[in-house]
Amino acid sequence: MRVAALNFKRKAQQSLRNARLQSALGKIQVRFVQARAEAIAGLDDFAAVKRRATEIRENVLANLDAWLERFEQEATRRGAVVHWAETAADANRIVIEIARAAHVKKVVKSKSMVSEECALNDALEAAGVQVVETDLGEYILQLAHEAPSHIVAPVLHKTKDEVSDLFAQKHALPRKTGIAELCREARDILRPHFVSADMGISGGNFLIAETGSVLLVTNEGNGRMATTLPRVHVAITGIEKVVPTLEDATTLVRILPRSATGQDITNYVSVLTGVKNSDESDGPEQFHIILLDNGRSALLGTPLQSMLRCIRCGACMNHCPVYQNVGGHAYGWVYPGPMGSVLTPLFAGLADTLPLPNASTLCGACAEVCPVSIPLPDLLRELRHRQSEQDLRPRLERLSLRLWVWLALRPRWYARATSLASRVLHGLGGAKRRLRWLPGAGGWTDGRDFPAPAGSTFRALYRARKIP
């Protein structure tokens, strides 16, 4: 998926005008925000679990190389093959090589954001391999040729009606309207694919170092089938997902679904370890684990390291008032919302993602709900700082800021300038004491009046009051 973050503003405006999208986004409040609040309230001591989860993630990052080596050892010992991919292109190449060597014609996929990050489907299809997404949301998107707009609920931007139309058209079956019927229809179509696929591709929510296992949380059961039915299983995930022990993983599993969908636990939690033994009837013959760096290791030891704690729960976007209003596509890549506005610039470069760190009021709702205490507003501010240091901000903005600071450091000039501004704007405000239009501030006055100042500044009035 190509990064298209530069036109955030235009796409955001389109989103605001898109009535269907707006109605789809309306679901966030009940389905995610309220659901999370209730699930959190049901936990004995949420703050303590959150502290522990943060600690686990932070400790791993302090010794990431050592934990990854341990993971590789343990996974290898149980028959899995661990591959290291430095870039997305490397990851794709590795998957294709595995597919070629195993004569794979068809792949079933369970949901994986890292595979979206790599645009793996495109690469596989270009190599002549058929790819079938089996997560319902991802399947819908594959039919519609659309990108996910949310990391947990990829099809959040679509209404049920749109899905009904899509299925009727693509499946050439009578149009269904009930959710259960739609699910059944998708299931009927997907089932044969699981059986005929040669390879299953999944993500990995956590990598467990002590056992070399990949832990997967899913709700639809497709993940379990995609990882156990085909003869080859490829799990692809980021290097930061490793945790030391099963115990640690379960702590994180206590907090991940609660933060994500408000579930106490997902319908399925799979711990996938090694290949099928000779005395076992289920499981893949080959188990490949691809660990993607793609810029992650470069964050270690920097002010942005805490971003690597992320467990991809989506709570930050669910609670972000900007995301709630514009949805995920405006952000222009795989990861939307506050976590995306931090990650996308790090993966795709500051220059190609200029609007993202600024597309936030820094209200702090994201950091408040993040289960691993990532200070997202601080990270966004750090990226703004880097933009400024690298002279990437627009000239006009830089000039006006410099003028403001110049004045603010010179109280006498400042007093004159603000006095003048107050008087002029007050005059323009007229009897209604507000302006409907202000040059250079169309962004404000297109949708709001600008309340006029009082005509004199506080400092002037205060001085006059003190000198009788």
């Binding site: 405006q13 605001l16 514009v326 597309a359 600071v405 603010a408 404000w444 949708g447 009046d449 500044t457």
Partner: protein, 247 residues
């Protein structure tokens, strides 16, 4: 108790009445109030635009201006948060200015927080009659824990009826330059806020940050609501705005 009043650049320029209301409240609470004449801006616009150097210069200036005050009080959660929470991050070292700035941070308070927890104000000078809804401005709420303080103070005004709006903690969309840079998104966020204010049944909305108030008032007036009053908490508590019954 020598208390410095940092009126903030926005109050100075846009709505001096809030500065005088804060002054009145501090005096009523028994403070000896100093208002340094050279004060300007805390540097937040620079800081949030990534210009840390500019923010640092203004921080040093502010620390000098309020050097002789036991406390510094700010009628804005976001400017108080800038000083209290963010200044120390800009000055982590052990230099003389850094120590001075960190000391300033430690004795800086948001107005309602100060009135309730430090000055322990006994009687409020203001009188207000009407149904108010309180919007929790983001920085005050999340950086400084300003939540109960304004409500506790409002509860002491006998004829105020507090009508909480839904999602009173959701950002109004101001966000400083965000409001201009991403005007359409900001407007929709303000519009959501206005709908909730209307649904609350209040006829006035109150907050602790002028930025939010300008944003909310701007949207209310644009959608044709000239009636709902938009007030700073200091104005309500000091009575500068509320002397005349408004219903």
């Amino acid at each position: 108790m020598r208390t410095g009043l940092f009126v903030t650049c926005l109050v100075d320029l846009m709505r001096p009445a809030i500065g005088f209301a804060a002054l009145k409240l501090l005096e009523q609470a028994g403070c000896e109030v100093a208002v340094p004449a050279t004060q300007t801006c805390c540097g937040q616009p620079g800081y949030n635009a990534g210009d840390n150097a500019a923010a640092r210069e203004l921080a040093i200036k502010l620390a000098l201006e309020f050097a002789d005050c036991d406390y510094v009080v700010v009628p804005s959660g976001s400017c108080a948060g800038m000083i209290r929470v963010h200044y120390p991050r800009l000055f982590p070292d052990d230099s003389e200015p850094a120590r001075r700035v960190r000391a300033l941070a430690a004795r800086t308070y948001e107005l309602t927080d100060f009135l309730v927890n430090i000055a322990k104000i006994q009687t409020l000078p203001g009188y207000y009659r009407g149904r108010l809804s309180y919007h929790d401005s983001c920085s005050g709420l999340r950086e400084l824990g300003v939540k109960q303080q304004p409500r506790a103070l409002l509860a002491r005004l006998p004829d105020v009826e507090l009508k909480e709006m839904e999602q009173c903690e959701t950002c109004c969309g101001f966000g400083g330059t965000f409001a201009v840079k991403f005007g359409a998104v900001s407007t929709q966020m303000a519009d959501n806020k206005c709908r909730r204010i209307h649904a609350s049944g209040a006829n006035a909305v109150v907050a602790g940050d002028l930025g939010c108030l300008l944003n909310i008032e701007g949207r209310l007036r644009r959608i044709g609501d000239a009636a709902t009053r938009v007030l700073h908490i200091a104005e309500v508590l000091a009575g500068e705005q509320g002397k005349v019954p408004c219903e």
